[in-house]
Every structure is written in C-alpha cells, then in structure tokens.
Symmetry: D3
Subunit: 146 residues, 6 copies
C-alpha cells in the first residue's frame, strides 16, 4: 500500500484485510511492581488490549473477549525498556477469532530484544443486536501492514 | 482477632496466616470499553493484582507471577457496578503458590450480585538472592480475615 | 452466607444488609509524594471512595458526600506497603449515613500492620428526584461480610 | 514583580514570600462519580495537593499533612466545568502552617462562578533530620502572586 | 474583585473579561522520562490544556485547537519541582485566538524559579452548529485575575 | 528479518538500523475533551512519545526533545476510534535527529482511515556525560520493521 495515497484522502480497510496489529508501549514506573519489573497484570492488560484491537480491525464488528488462554511469564521485563505487542489473527470460527499475542521486550540502549511472553485470546464478534455474528474467513497470506 | 487491639498498636501477621484477600473496585469509565462494560484487560489486571497481594501476604516474601491459567469472561460487568475480587491460596508447592481469584459484580442500586469470572494464577516466592525460596505449608482451615 | 450458592446464580443483597466494606490498595509510586510516603490527598481520596461504596451498598440508593470530618494523619504509610480500608456504617439519620473509615497499613514482607488513620464521612441518599430519601434503620449486629 | 525579568534569568523566591497559590483543574470524566458530578474524594485530593503546594512554597521546607479539618460539600460541581483552587497560608505556629483552601467552580460557557467548598489543612515543615522545623512568621499583607 | 462577594453567591464572568489563566502542576514520576526530567510530551500536554482553558474562558464558547507553533525545550525541568503555566490571549481574529503559554519551573526547597519553555497555540471558537463563531475583540489592559 | 529466530533467543538491533516505529492507541474517554474528540494536548503527547521512541531506537542513546515544530490539527479524531502513530527518522545532524510523526485515525467499524495530523520533532542524543553525542549517519533505504 502506497503511503502517499493516504496523505490527503481517506482509505477504507475492508473486513478480513488487516490480520496483524503492532503496538509499542514504554515500561514506565506506573506499570512496574515494587521490584522494578513489568507487573503481570499490566502485561495481561496490554496483551488483551492488543488482541481487542486486532480482532476489531479484522472483523470490523464490535468484539468482546470470551477467553484468555494460559500465559507464561518467562522473562522479567525491566522498567525503562519498551515493549512491542504483535497480535495476529491465527484462526477463526463462525463468530470467534483466536488472536495470538507476542510481547517483545527491547532495551533502549543496548538494542537487545527478546520474546518476553506470548498468549492467545479468543474474541467474539457481536452484531447490532448484541448476538454473535459471522466474521470473515481467514485466508492465510503474507502479513498486511499498511 | 479483636479489632480494638489494632487501634493503637501494630500487630505482626506471620507467614501462612492470611490465606484470603478481598478487594473492592468500582467500574469507572476508564476501565470500560466503548460498549460500557468492563474491559477484559482491566479484569485480568485487577485479578492479577489481587493474586499478587494474596501471595505476598501469605508468604511474606517477594513474589512474581509465573503463569495465568485460562480465564473465561462469562458475563459482562457494567459500568457503574462495583466488583469484589476474592483471592485465596488454594495450593502450594515448594516455592510456588496457586491463587484462585473470583471476580464478583454487584449492582449498587439493586443489590444483585453474581460471579463474573474466576481464574487461577501461579505465583513464585523469591528470596533475597532473587531465586525461588520456600513458602509455608498450607494448612487448610477456616478463612482468616482480620 | 454460603459462597458456593453464589457460583452460578446471582443473589440479591437487600438494603440495610451490608454494613461493612473492605478494600485493599497498593501504595504505588503514583500515590506517594516525593518523600516516598502516601500523599495525604490520595489517602483522603481512598477513604472517601471507600465511604461512598459502603453507603451505597448499605442504602442501595444514589449517595453523595455531604461532609468529611477531621482526619489526622498520624503515621506515614510507606511506598510498597499495602493499605486496607475498612468502612462501617456507624449511625444513620433520616437520609444521612455516618461512615467510619479506618485505614490500615501493612508491610508486605514483615507482616507488620497498624492503624494509619481514621475518619468519618457523612453521606446522603438521594431518590430518583434528586432529593434526600429515607435510608434503612441501622440494627447493630455482628458484621455481615459475604 | 516584573514578569519580563523572569524571561531569561532565574529568580529566587525567599521563604515567607509566597502566601497564596492558585491551581486550575478541569472536571474530566475520570474525576466524576457515575452521576456526573465531581467525586468528593477527588475534591479532597485536589484540595490537599493545593494545600501541600502552598505550604511548601511558603516554608521552602519539606512538608507533610498533619490534619484535614471538616469539609462541607455544599454544591455539586458538574463534569465539563473547571475548578480553581485558591490556597492561602492563614496562620502559622512554630513548625505548622494552617492553609485555607477554596474550591471555585466555573462554567466554561456561561461564565458562572461560585464557591463549591472550602476547608483547612494543617501542614508541618520537616527539617533534614525528618523532625519538625521552624517556619517563617506570617506577616499579613497584600497577596503576593508573581 | 472582592473575594468575599463570591462566598455565598455566584458571579458571572462575561466573555472577553478573563485574559490570563494560571495553573500549577507538580512534576510527579508519572510525567517524567526515565532520566528524571519532565517528558516533552507531558509539557506539551500541560501547555495545550492551559491554552484550551484560557481560550474557553476568554470566549465563553466551545473551542478546539487549530495549531501549535514551534516550542523549544530549553531547560530540563526536574522531578519534584512544580511548574506554573501562564496562558494569555495575545491576539484574536474573527473566530481564532492566539494564546501564549509560558511554563515556569520552581524548585520547592530553594525557591529558584525560571522560564522552562514557552509556545503559542491557535484556538478556534465554535458555535452551536459546530462552525467557527465570532470571539470578543481583545482590548489590551491590565491582567484580570479574579 | 525472520520472526521465528526471535522466539527463543534475543537479537541485538544495532544503532542506525530501526528508522521507523509504529504505535497504536485507542481513543478512550480520558483523552477526549468534553466534545468527544481527541484533545490536542493528548495528540501532542502521543506524538512526542512516539518521536522519543523512534529517536531512542535509532540512536541507542539517551535522547531528549529539543524542539517540536508547528502542528496543525486538521481533522478531529473521534472517541472510540483508534490512532496509529508512525514516526520516522527523516534527517540527522551531528547529535540531533529530526523525526516526522504521522497520526492516522481509523474507525473500528467502517475501516475508514485518514491522516489526522503530522508534525516534526527534533531530538538530541546525549552521552554518559549528559552532553550531545554523535548519532549514526542516516542511509536512506527501505523501511526496516522487524
């Protein structure tokens, strides 16, 4: 996609088009526990927000979380690092979407980057009537970022 | 435990004594999605914070989250409700503690109260050297609230 | 009250039933002044929120604060501690409720726990028309926690 | 005081010089209860912060709150208004300062402005050793704003 | 203006009357980068909020930002300081207002105060129909603070 | 770059490698003014944070903002939308980096996406001694996202 074309006009991103969403956050003091590492609750909150955005953009419907699957907190992420959340739609049902979220930590100064944790979230698309509604079929292909 | 005795003196709560922690939060606009219900990410964040407090109080050690187990978001929780998080230590290993967290929703005006979701978190106690350290044996008995 | 009965059904808590509310908060850096102790403004805010919840749950009406009575900040509460707020309805008028709030500080590691401060708040119940409305008579009895 | 003189140089405000501090805040949704008016807890928090700043600027010492006196919440302040907090040192002891805080509400569109509430806070100045220390004598005179 | 007259009555501030607004903020950890100085993004956010308030109070209309002009971040502002934002309407067009915002830093303990940065913001007044609407002519005179 | 290679090992991102950073945010109520659109102050804050991250990742040095250039707020961004910030290093001096930040708005449901605003920020790299330090030469090439 040609970025210049976006500059003065709007584009319309169809349902099923965007299957990956990336989001960067800084690990500020307010999301660390009193040991100076990213609090697990905030990691889960970032991951769920990222999954929510990915599912909303894929389906172009209202979505709600149905389930978070097991998440292992392998490696502590230190205050002052940045984290990048990469969420991808990895499978879809009739109205549900499974989103895999990877949380990478990156040290500002050294440039070291590693996978901190990952997890899956199941999101459900809702129609105007508040009931589950159909989502686009997932045609796996190369990732579309804008 | 006699509350009056707390009023002018401090008490010392030994490791292994406190096995349940309760925490009330209000569902303010900043923790709801744009459909007016508690955002799953914030629910997970509240639950993880509650599990963290319960494990810290039980072990009287530094603790970090090792794992969050599957969480189902059964019932939407509406803005303007309150939620009560009840976390209990349900089993312990050498240095790990499994905490079960229940999230109840309660309507201020009607008084209706129901279980919104529950989940388990595994927390690990760390010693001064940053390595896993022993936690007290769990002797199941009636719940000790202060 | 039998907790299991709550698991799959909702219950209805009648006005006048709940007279005590407990709320745990962590003393994170964002609520401490630049000397590392809980900022008085945040202590008052936590206490008022706790009184608000207690009065709302007791009356099952909309409530607003009418008055906060003198609060002494006896003992500094350090960053990294947790605080527990215990609010109880101690007297009621026609439409007003006096709520006593105790703020306990507890050290995660040592288990030391002490009363940091306490205060009283007067809350008023409002009816649908926005005017003061009757609240249930307080029948002092043992504390009802769920 | 000539503002231009501040532009490229620093000035030094001596202890005892600044006896009034003004602070404007907007009443955003995150400080209102679910009835659309400023939450009493947030009003108290704003007032305590304002008193803290006034006492710090007056004494040029570390200060902590010792006491908040009775505060009446006379008039609701609506979301979307702005509030102005005016804090003045009204009396001093050896190491304590009594700060009166007025909270004015102002409607953006109509320009209507009224006193929402007021209250007094006692603040204590602490020396390097953490013990109460002397504060400047209050010589009442016209208010010094910069 | 006589403050006592405000105590029990409301006053009405006409459009064009208030041309300066002052706002004090503390530089808490959550607005500093990981080098302990005020984050430029938060400085801009404080300045824009201050300009917004000044333009709203001057025009007594809904206002939106049209433009922020170049801002130089001359001098770092340290955590633990306070900042005072002084916004003044310096020129007006038909429906636009140019607001100059000065950001002063002040050290609590030493009393040292200096200009940290300044900038201009152009704000536009909107009528009920959402289209630009006329603002009062600026009659330069001594500053009116209440 | 092969994502699988990141899964179990860390990688090291050299200075000068990463020239573009993308960051997604949701337009929640707490960043909108009382007209339901993204507050200009929050837009500037998001843009500055994004520029800060881009400059830090490009230089792998401590960076501070030196200047924000004129920003036009062309198009209002509505609450409930998401925004994507795209920051790119567009030129470098000895120790300074000019970062162009584009802020795109995207409607969750319709998929409509448009450029809301853009601006430039000048960031300076600092060495261990706190003085400006050399940054890598910019060799313009295709964008490197991980």
């Amino acid at each position: 996609m040609n970025r210049e074309s976006l500059d003065h006009h709007s584009v319309k991103l169809e349902p099923g088009l965007v299957i990956e969403t990336r989001q960067i956050e800084m690990v500020f003091p307010e999301v660390t526990n009193h040991y100076g590492t990213l609090f697990a609750g905030d990691a889960l909150s970032f991951m769920a927000k990222s999954a929510f955005i990915a599912a909303s953009r894929y389906s172009r419907k209202k979505v709600v979380a149905a389930k978070s699957e097991q998440v292992d907190f392998r490696v502590p992420v230190r205050q002052g690092n940045l984290i990048e959340l990469i969420s991808r739609v990895v499978s879809v049902g009739n109205s549900s979407m499974t989103i895999e979220v990877e949380l990478y930590a990156e040290d500002f100064l050294s440039g070291e980057r590693y996978l901190g944790t990952k997890g899956k979230f199941v999101m459900v698309a809702l129609g105007e009537d508040g009931r589950p509604t159909k989502v686009p079929t997932l045609i796996q292909k190369e990732i579309n970022t804008l």
